[in-house]
């Protein structure tokens, strides 16, 4: 695969950092401040898109920034896998920015300047993570995301928020320092490099038990992927304002988490090595456990955002499970699901926020009949839910299709049952919401008629819902990109 | 140590010693002090060849002033060697030492390499060491005086 040198990926990262400064300077003038956010989001998306043709041509765009220590470089590299996450995140940032403006203004939130600044930092770091050329760079951006989103989670500054934010920080920072970092050090010692290479760098460098230790440390260290028992931060982080939950906890943070897992599995260990030691099965078991348990926990939540949070935990493990199958279809599903789930889940979170803006309701049991008053919102919710359950013609179906193919390829029938069971559970916890919203009678005394959230809130969520559907019909386009990823990591043994 | 005994130390010895009954002490001190000082200078000046030197001579010089203060009181002593003077002496003594070192540098030698100071290296060494000893002597004497005065001073003002 050829590589071209270019500063484009660096610009993609820096655009939003520049925006941070501009946002901070113009904090006094909300309109200008938010204009900067939008401009930065559009520019970023533009830059990412401009790199797409080259990537589709099979080129990698590389950008070496600085050598911190011999063997420790900050370097960016755009490949097919990275650009998928980058495209998803930068596109959704545009929409989320619009949504955030509507949401924050409607609720007249405080400290909005800080909010937008941290938001932009988190996005920069997400781009950086997507384009990281080695574990070290990825680790750096991973930590930047944690720290910048801490401020967003603690945004409300009340006791609950501080407590939730602290738990968030302790889990994410703690695991990354305690497990991720030593895993990185060990990788460096044994492999002598930290670069991502499509077939892995660890093969043949260390005895099996060391590989196992490193693997377990990596999986435990990447708490952002929400694998149990390191998922607790995710529900705790739901105290954040909804746009934060939406973008960061359905897209940026958790997606960087699973992205990192997939990166590490495919580009550090390599499919062959893991298959040889049998670590894929281990990871699949952990992920299956998480899928089932998180789904059951989601069933028990009455707070809509919490239910979505547990649903996220379970969906993230689909991605991990898929890659753990170590088969072409599994990896396809994994990479695809990162994007598909992002669109679906962000819609759902947008809806939760819209309901809160319009009616200040948080609990599902209070939402009886709300679908009549907020038809667009709840329709979008239904689309999102369908995507989670994987019903055609919504994007979720495609990735689950490949997942099931993957289990068959890998000959793991047990996993197939897990998937089927969890699909039922998904349906079980989303259906009541839809039912309550549309078919239950609203309580007495509540007004009738349309009471949608402001347009700036509703338009984005409808857009993402439509996006979910488009993903289904446009799946051949996306799959083209995914197949490039799969081809590279399978070492050409797959057509 | 009790509070009273501390006060006795910081008590100005001048107030009751200046009375007539201490006439013997005062007379003896007046006779002795010049000789003590002369001896101090002797010791300083012979530091380069014989036993002695700036430290020892400086202490002896300082002691002479301390004797004076013990006998005539702090106020009287501070009139002779004011705070300003002793501070200046502390610095200037050490500056003489440092300055000679710098002179050696300027003359093209290493720091404190006296023999480059004059055409005759032997003479230069002698003079250089003598100068340094004088500087040290001044500093040590002044430090002794300052330390003593600071210790016995009674601080009513703060």
């Amino acid at each position: 695969m050829e590589a071209t040198q270019s500063y484009l990926p660096l610009y993609a990262v820096l655009v939003s950092l520049l925006a941070v400064v501009l946002i901070g300077v113009s904090g006094r003038y909300p309109n200008i401040r938010e204009a900067w956010t939008i401009i930065a989001a559009l520019t970023k998306f533009g830059i990412v898109v401009s790199m797409l043709p080259a990537v589709l041509n099979g080129e990698n765009i590389e950008c070496h920034i600085v050598t911190v220590l011999p063997g420790l470089d900050i370097a960016l590299k755009v490949d097919a896998f990275g650009i998928m996450l980058a495209l998803t995140a930068s596109f959704l940032w545009i929409i989320t920015s619009l949504y955030a403006i509507g949401y924050m203004r409607s609720l007249n939130e405080h400290a909005q300047t800080r909010f937008y600044m941290c938001f932009a930092v988190a996005l920069s770091a997400t781009m950086g993570a997507a384009f990281s050329a080695n574990i070290f760079t990825l680790f750096v951006f991973y930590e930047i995301i944690t720290i910048s989103t801490y401020a967003l989670v603690a945004h409300e500054e009340n006791d609950e928020a501080i407590k939730g934010a602290r738990r968030y920080l302790v889990y994410l920072l703690g695991t990354s320092v305690l497990f991720f970092l030593p895993a990185m050090v060990m990788t460096y010692i044994y492999a002598g490099t930290l670069d991502f290479v499509p077939q892995g760098i660890l093969a043949g460098t260390a005895p099996d038990f060391i590989i196992i230790i490193i693997f377990v440390l990596f999986i435990a260290g990447i708490a952002k992927a929400g694998i149990m028992p390191f998922h607790i931060w995710l529900p705790a982080a739901m105290v954040a304002p909804t746009p934060v939950s939406a973008l960061l906890h359905a897209v940026a943070v958790v997606k960087v988490g699973v992205f990192t897992v997939v990166r590490v599995v495919l580009f550090v260990f390599g499919v062959d090595l893991l298959a040889e030691i049998g670590l894929g099965v281990f990871l699949a078991c952990v992920a299956s456990f998480t899928i089932i348990v998180a789904s059951i926990m989601a069933l028990r939540q009455d707070n809509l955002k919490l239910r979505l949070a547990y649903s996220t935990v379970s969906q993230l493990s689909y991605i991990v499970l898929a890659v753990a199958l170590l088969t072409p279809s599994g990896i396809t599903s994994s990479v695809l699901h990162i994007t598909v789930h992002a669109f679906g889940k962000i819609t759902l979170f947008f809806v939760a926020g819209a309901i809160y803006v319009a009616t200040h309701k948080k609990y599902i049991s209070d939402m009886a009949g709300i679908g009549r008053r907020m038809p667009f919102t709840m329709a979008a919710f239904t689309v999102g839910a369908l995507s989670m359950i994987a019903v055609p013609p919504v994007g979720g179906f495609i990735s689950k299709w490949y997942l099931i193919m993957g289990t068959l390829e890998a000959d793991m029938i047990a996993i197939l049952f897990v998937i089927l069971l969890s699909t039922l559970l998904n349906a079980a916890y989303f259906a009541p919401v839809v039912y309550t919203a549309f078919f239950k009678k609203p309580p007495e005394g509540e007004g009738q008629g349309l009471k949608e959230a402001p347009a700036l809130v509703v338009v984005p969520l409808v857009t993402t819902a439509v996006g979910t559907v488009i993903l289904f019909f446009a799946s051949p386009v996306v799959l083209g990109l995914v197949k490039m990823v799969v081809a590279s990591v399978m070492g050409g043994s797959w057509d | 140590m009790s509070k009273q005994s501390m006060q006795r130390i910081s008590h100005d010895p001048g107030s009751d010693i200046t009375t007539q009954k201490h006439v013997i002490r005062r007379t003896v001190a007046k006779i002795l002090i010049p000789f003590i000082q002369l001896f101090g200078l002797y010791v300083i000046a012979h530091g380069e060849l014989g036993p002695g030197g700036g430290f020892q001579g400086g202490v002896i010089l300082g002691a002479s002033v301390i004797v004076y203060i013990l006998v005539f009181g702090l106020d009287e002593g501070r009139k002779r060697v004011t705070e300003k003077t002793s501070d200046l002496l502390v610095s200037s003594g050490a500056l003489i030492y440092g300055g000679i070192g710098i002179l050696c540098l300027l003359a093209g030698g290493n720091y404190l390499q006296y023999n480059v100071l004059l055409p005759d290296p032997k003479l230069a060494s002698h003079l250089g060491i003598l100068g340094v000893e004088i500087g040290i002597g001044i500093t040590v004497a002044a430090v002794m005086i300052t330390l003593f005065c600071e210790t016995v001073r009674r601080d009513d003002d703060d």
Binding site: - | M1, K3, M6, E150, T151, D158
Partner: protein
Amino acid sequence: MIEIILTKYNYWIYIVLMMTGFYAVMAKENLIKKVIGLNIFQTAVFLFYISLSKVDGGTAPILINGPVVYDNPLPQVLILTAIVVSVSVTAVALAIILLIYKAYGTIEEDQILEMNKHND
């Protein structure tokens, strides 16, 4: 055993002295006594150095006429410096004690610590 004690008596003396001083530093509450202990502690080491320089039958290291057996002058010079250091330490310590007395009205360590506890 006896021989060791007798021939290395300078070591024994310095160790006994040193520990005496150390004891005073540790055990005495009075700050001035602590400083005295500190001085004894240091002086013991000076004594050790000086005893190192002694050459049997040597004279003071002053060259008068011709070569004679004389003591090693270097440790003595070193200790001269060390004494200056020690005097400076004592001076600083005493100055601090004076200030402590002014601030607390006592120089007993236990009382001072008690007062500090109440202050915090």
